[in-house]
Symmetry: D2
Subunit: 307 residues, 4 copies
């Protein structure tokens, strides 16, 4: 079993927020999952994060979630640490997922705020502190206001960081103002991990002091994101801009097709399926891209050099 | 077991969206639940709706939800039909709750859209149609954009109503423009039930042709809401305005204390606890009102005539 | 000149929020304005409100606004009172418009909150109180959060109503919860006028105690709105529902064509132009409906009985 | 007169979005304006932008705007180019301000979308293209969704850039995802200027290829922002982080006091007044900070080293 002590603090590098390969709403594509894990590990990423937004956390049944947690840990074979999303509207169910994560060998859990009721910052503090008290694994707090409709204020993060089990944060707000405020507020606590979500801003976040990224695009292009991260860490700006252009090209050509708020996810699954990783299946209530969008993405992908 | 055939179409009257009496996050206050059920049945309401927003649906564990469904059906003893909220971000879990509802004798289920991902109207249609296909009980669609961040368009409702298991709707948007649009779009399908959520607009919705209300205040004042409903049905405007003033007074004095988006729920639980129904406990992640707010509500309640 | 004393308190009935007939961005269609004024006065409405949202207030130059104010007052010839919208992001410009309104014989002014900066409720109070101090005419406060992004809280309205020049309110929020809260908070001040904006909820607002409507549809169907208002005042619910269906039909068939947030305005101008009142011109930055939408509205209008 | 040809393309460096020093709603503090201009020019900034959000554009009367434009151009004496905000809800008034700007010697104008009506992207394109056709000066498009409630899509920007008078953009969205998308979409048009608004993200935007910043904090600390910009241009990351910490400290200690959406502006004016530049007056409808907030900012400023 991995223990709290085993994860470096801060945790640095690229963590892939794993797409969940599915055959249908109730069945994992186990072969696809294995392929994907090998692909990202060969690409050099530093961790796998399952059951995040990219992993369609909210849509999956608990039975399937348990299966996914166990199987990912088994297939990862300790090659990279596994981070498990336990975001839920019910705190009891979050805790229950955390127990499964601990039992199957995951390294840490990741939780966004419960996402049904409007919460105040004080309620967020109480919630996360109580949750951390009971957790068997270290916790990364997950800021994703596009889905949870709440911004975890930097002052709140600072308070949460005082809990010994709350070891870091993933910010998917897309706001550089916010992320730089996090860096400023946490500057006296260098062991607290600050990771950034959107692919498009990983490099600039790392240049300013961020510890790495949890970037959807690394499902497809693990090596590219690792390279971009390393260039940023070295401060090689010329290289950064070269890799960044590829990241932006992938974003423009796969995430921006279609019109709803989940096109990044649908586009990514579409691209992975076109590349042969698994079928283009998204769990209900999302519907996968249809013929028209698939054609556009197929055409767009032709002009990308996959690496 | 209650079957689809047993519910009148349209369903008319007042349904109480039951507050969930709790001892702690994991334990129901069974005595409190019994008291509450007897209170609303004596008050003359036409149905009980558990696991709605007022019932803190999203916060409770599945274990507790199952217990609540079974116990409510048992305690209701068939005196009023029980409607069970199955809203969840995972369609599989919604279905699973529906099965429990059917097995324990509930009359219908109620579902808001899955509330994590942004969905388009077409995805809503696909979601509800697929869900209804598998449901063992009739379905009321639940529009509550304050929590789900999506408005179910009247045109979408019209399409959903073509499914024989989708028999009605609860609208908690607060928008009279929207509710009147629903009435207009559904005018040729008089068997499709249209109920309104906010206490403050039940009377006007019924005057304009709505079939009734699912009003939080009827936990406290069941008779008042039944009387208001009946006045509206009779078209006795003078009586309507008299009862309406009491409804507004209760709203102003208990729902508007405090500042977060859940004050209606916290205020209602506070008022119920002050009146001796059960303890003032809200499930995590919500924190119940503290001393200061309790004092304000206690003072406010003194000036109300409970009936 | 009309003085504060001349407007009845509360002011009751239907006020038409006048569409602004335009030849181009800089020129009024004076003939169209005259036609429109005669049309609504013959239809029996109780007032004309120029430079509201329906009148494209925000888009017009000051020169054109001055012209419109003077001309409307002149053409109205005292047959109905003229209410002048003075909403602006600059308080000084609002005051300047109010002076023009007073000089040309308008009866009252109407102001929404300044709409660029986020304001707090206390800032709203300070703003409206200071404005009222300097105004030469009585003021109606205008709540339209869809455009101004702020809700004027009922408690704020109550404070504003203590100013002798703040005599009423137009609420275009569409929220029945909010409007009924206004009615409740203002119940001890029966001289304070409460009017409602959206066509679709005028009848229910009047049934619950509202004083009337400022309804865009009365540009097209003045008599229908007057009839609906009168039925509601008399409490004749059967009649209310008959007229309401026509109001809803017009809304569904002209306001809901197209997809942006201004379809009600574009649809209304399209319908008026098809009926021969004036050209289908909307001021920049809005673009009027094109061929496709015009065809739909033309087709839709065929099935309406204009009265 | 400055002509289009005179501004370098792209325009690089720090432009100060000037605070408007006021004695009251109708009177400029001319001495304060002169002090401020000399302060930023001595600090080395590359331009002054008047009538932006920081300059309280929307609140000021046209008379005062005209005075401010003329006086700023006169006092600047050609030492730095003057950019004039012409954002307005009325296109005609925007054009009228642009004429004043041209006549008094300004170098360019800056316009956000009209901010009352909801506009579609096509309406934005039509609006900006038509405006540019008539403008006597080059135009910078201004993206500030917090106030205008619309995001100018990167694809829209690309289309706008095809107009010879639309020469650049200021983005105040705070989104790094968006700004990096702009950089990507405009990569083949290196003469199109891309400037970023929020102080906190100027450095990272420049590191990724942005041309500079329009940063409120440069009113107070012009030299600091110029130094930070130069470090970023040179790619000296160590220096960037040193200066960035000062920028973040100023942001945390002056912009984050208070709770409404305009605290950055009120805090900045408070800090400038404490430092003796001018009185702490904000134009109606904003109310300046009171005693309590002034004490906090005074205390906070003690711990900053002004340079």
């Amino acid at each position: 079993m991995t223990s709290i002590a085993k994860l470096p603090r801060p945790f640095r590098g690229i963590i892939t927020p794993l797409v969940t390969p599915l055959i249908n709403d109730e069945s994992l594509d186990e072969k696809g999952l294995n392929l994907l894990l090998n692909h990202i590990i060969e690409g050099g990423v530093n961790g796998a994060f399952i059951l995040g937004t990219t992993g369609e956390c909210a849509s999956l049944s608990y039975k399937l979630k348990h299966k996914l947690i166990a199987l990912t840990c088994e297939l990862a074979k300790g090659r990279i640490p596994v981070f498990v999303g336990i975001t839920d509207s019910s705190p009891a169910e979050s805790l229950s997922l955390a127990k499964v994560a601990e039992e199957t060998g995951a390294s840490a859990v990741v939780a966004a705020p419960p996402y049904y009721f409007d919460l105040g910052q004080q309620e967020l503090i109480t919630y996360f502190m109580n949750l951390a008290d009971k957790l068997p694994l270290p916790l990364f707090v997950y800021n994703i206001p596009s889905q949870t409709k709440i911004m975890i204020q930097p002052e709140t993060v600072k308070i949460l960081a005082s809990h010994h089990k709350i070891v870091g944060m993933k910010d998917s707000s897309g706001s550089a103002t916010y992320f730089n405020s996090l860096l400023y507020h946490m500057k006296d606590d260098p062991s607290f991990t600050l990771l950034v979500g959107p692919d498009e801003m990983m490099a600039s976040a790392v240049l300013m002091g961020g510890h790495g990224g949890v970037n959807a695009g690394s499902n497809f292009y693990p090596r590219l994101f690792v390279d971009l991260y390393k260039s940023a860490i070295k401060g090689n700006l010329k290289e950064v801009l070269q890799f960044q252009e590829k990241v932006m090209e992938f974003s423009a050509k796969t995430y921006q097709v279609g019109t709803t708020g989940t096109t990044f996810l649908k586009g990514l699954k579409a691209a992975m399926s076109i590349s042969g990783f698994f079928e283009n299946y998204t769990a209900s209530p999302l519907t996968p891209f249809g013929e028209r969008e698939m054609e556009i993405i197929k055409e767009n992908l032709k002009h990308l050099n996959r690496k």
